[in-house]
């Protein structure tokens, strides 16, 4: 509105501009007055109520829609049925066995992949020749979609926990390797010079310079890796497994127990969030430790 008030018409303005330019007048063309757009923050309670409101609204719509027949409850299930199945799943089902199975394969895969990958990445510091020889293979490994190898891994390692750990490891290992190697490459050669001028051995340089320097890099992939490890474990369970939340989802889907699919997905999301939060906390602690 204000813009229109101050500028009578575009044509007139243009004419004015041209005239001003021709006489080299010092007065600039009137510019529309603009203010910095300011957003007012809502109070926390309002934000939280809005968030909860959306959730309740969506669930209610879903339930009402299913009951009224707008939504096909056979394919989409409905919140009340899901809640009921959830209760059964935890009371009499395999809930805890499945959770523990998926949790263990994720954690083992995460620890194994992250540790082995970081060590492999750091090992490239020791010899430039060795790094040059091995590096193309690591890059190849990175470009292979590891999940595509999952069926092979299951064949080799069987349908038990080990194969799920192996898939999770395959996903996390390469990321950790490349990140740790990026740390090694970022090392200041003058830092090494300082250590050697003080008469340090290779091992001393590695322990007192390379490892502490690369730690922030290694720590930075922990959160990414916990997500990758979980993905690996679930895919492993999809392919062949007797336990686990991934198997529960697959089994429920194949038997058209859609409510159970939702239950397993919900539990899985909760597990993922808990692990992610834990790893973020560990990361924060490690960062603090590294800084000190």
């Amino acid at each position: 509105m204000a813009v229109q008030d101050t500028s009578p018409s575009v044509g007139a303005m243009e004419r004015l501009d041209r005239e001003q330019a021709s006489v080299q007048s010092a007065t600039p063309a009137a510019k529309p007055v603009r203010r910095l757009p300011v957003q007012k923050d809502w109070p926390a309670w309002a934000l939280i109520s809005a968030q909860i409101g959306i959730l309740i609204g969506a669930l209610s719509l879903w339930e009402i829609g299913a009951r009224a027949g707008w939504i096909d409850a056979f394919f989409w299930s409905q919140p009340s049925a899901i809640a009921h199945t959830m209760a059964i799943f935890f009371a009499s089902g395999d809930a805890w066995t499945d959770i523990s199975f998926t949790f263990r394969s994720t954690i083992f895969g995460f620890l194994l992949g992250t540790t082995a990958g970081s060590l492999l990445g750091l090992s490239f510091w020791w010899s430039r020749n060795y790094a040059a020889i091995v590096q193309p293979y690591v890059i190849c490994l990175e470009s292979i979609p590891k999940l595509a190898l999952a069926p092979l891994i299951i064949l080799v390692f069987g349908i038990g926990l080990v194969s799920k750990v192996a898939v999770a490891t395959a996903l996390t290992l390469v990321v950790s390797t490349l990140t740790a190697y990026a740390g090694v490459k970022a090392l200041d050669p003058d830092g090494e010079k300082l250590f050697y001028s003080l008469g340090a051995s290779r091992l001393q340089v590695f322990r007192k310079l390379v490892v502490p320097f690369c730690l922030p890099w290694i720590i930075s992939v922990l959160r990414v890796n916990i997500g990758l490890a979980l993905t690996g474990a679930i895919v492993g369970e999809f392919i062949a497994s007797q336990h686990g939340l991934g198997r529960a989802i697959l089994y429920a889907g194949q038997t058209y127990d859609i409510a159970l699919v939702w239950v397993a997905v919900l539990v899985l999301s909760t597990l993922a969030m808990v692990m992610y939060a834990t790893v973020s906390w560990v990361e924060g602690m490690l960062r603090k430790g590294v800084r000190q």
Partner: protein, 266 residues
């Protein structure tokens, strides 16, 4: 201690790098003999091989010719014989100032506790009191250089090499650091080889200034500085000081025009 054998001797050291475009002579044979407890500076244009000489003395670079002798013993290509402070302070950000300062001792396997006990009083005496347990990122540029210098001193070698330690500091801090370094040097009786771009700094601090030239790097003049010690700031305005400074600047200027002509011809 004997005046016959110099503490540090650089005997006909030369360096040629093999590059893709052929051999590059970084250093023509350079000879330096520095008695115990002397403060000697190298000045010269960029690329005249000052840092190359330092790397060779510190054993980080094997010269293509000549030898480095410390106390008359061959030390060519051996590391850990001299304290070397590089241009950057290179303090490790994950260590406290105290633990940075004892790095040299730690590498030499001095027990941590003993090393810290030795370092603490020095940190207090030389202007780092109250900073011992902070991390380097909490320190100003001057403070960081102090810590880096104390790290070099505590490495406990008779010879220390300082490569433009005050190059990145502002003018005022630089003056303060020069006084501080003089104090340290007279307290510890070290043999110091100092690289700088600042002619006045070189003369003010040194017993002897070597002027270097480039292509290939070599020493073109050795100028003794017979000014009495301890020196005061005002001495930079005395006729004697100014005469030395003029001589140095003249040599550098001549060298500068000469190398420009070579560059133009090439």
């Amino acid at each position: 201690m004997s005046s016959s054998a110099p503490k540090l001797c650089v005997a006909d050291v030369s360096m040629t790098f093999q590059t893709r475009s052929g051999a590059f002579r970084a250093l023509a044979p350079v000879t330096l003999a520095i008695p115990q407890g002397r403060f000697v500076s190298l000045i010269g244009p960029s690329g005249c091989g000052k840092t190359t000489i330092f790397n060779i003395i510190a054993g980080l670079l094997e010269p293509t010719g000549g030898r480095v002798l410390i106390d008359g013993v061959d030390a060519t290509g051996t590391i850990g014989r001299v304290g070397y402070m590089l241009q950057k302070d290179l303090l490790l950000p994950w260590r406290t100032v105290l633990d940075n300062v004892i790095l040299g001792m730690e590498i030499q396997h001095v027990p941590l506790r003993a090393a810290r006990e030795r370092a603490l009083p020095l940190l207090h005496r030389y202007g780092l009191a109250g900073f011992e347990y902070l991390h380097p990122n909490a320190l100003s540029g001057g403070m960081r250089q102090r810590a880096a210098l104390l790290r070099t001193l505590l490495f406990d070698t008779d010879v220390i090499l300082l490569d433009e330690p005050f190059g990145a500091l502002d003018a005022q801090t630089k003056l303060k650091m020069q006084e501080w370094l003089m104090q340290l040097w007279s307290d510890f009786n070290k043999t110091v080889l100092f690289v700088t771009h600042d002619v006045e700094e070189a003369i003010y601090l040194s017993d002897e200034v070597h002027v270097m030239a480039t292509r290939p790097g070599r020493i073109i003049a050795t100028i003794p500085v017979p000014l009495a010690r301890p020196r005061i700031r005002g001495s930079v305005l005395t006729g004697e000081f100014l005469a030395i400074k003029e001589r140095c600047l003249e040599l550098l200027h001549l060298e500068g025009t000469a190398s420009e002509q070579i560059n133009e011809a090439a």
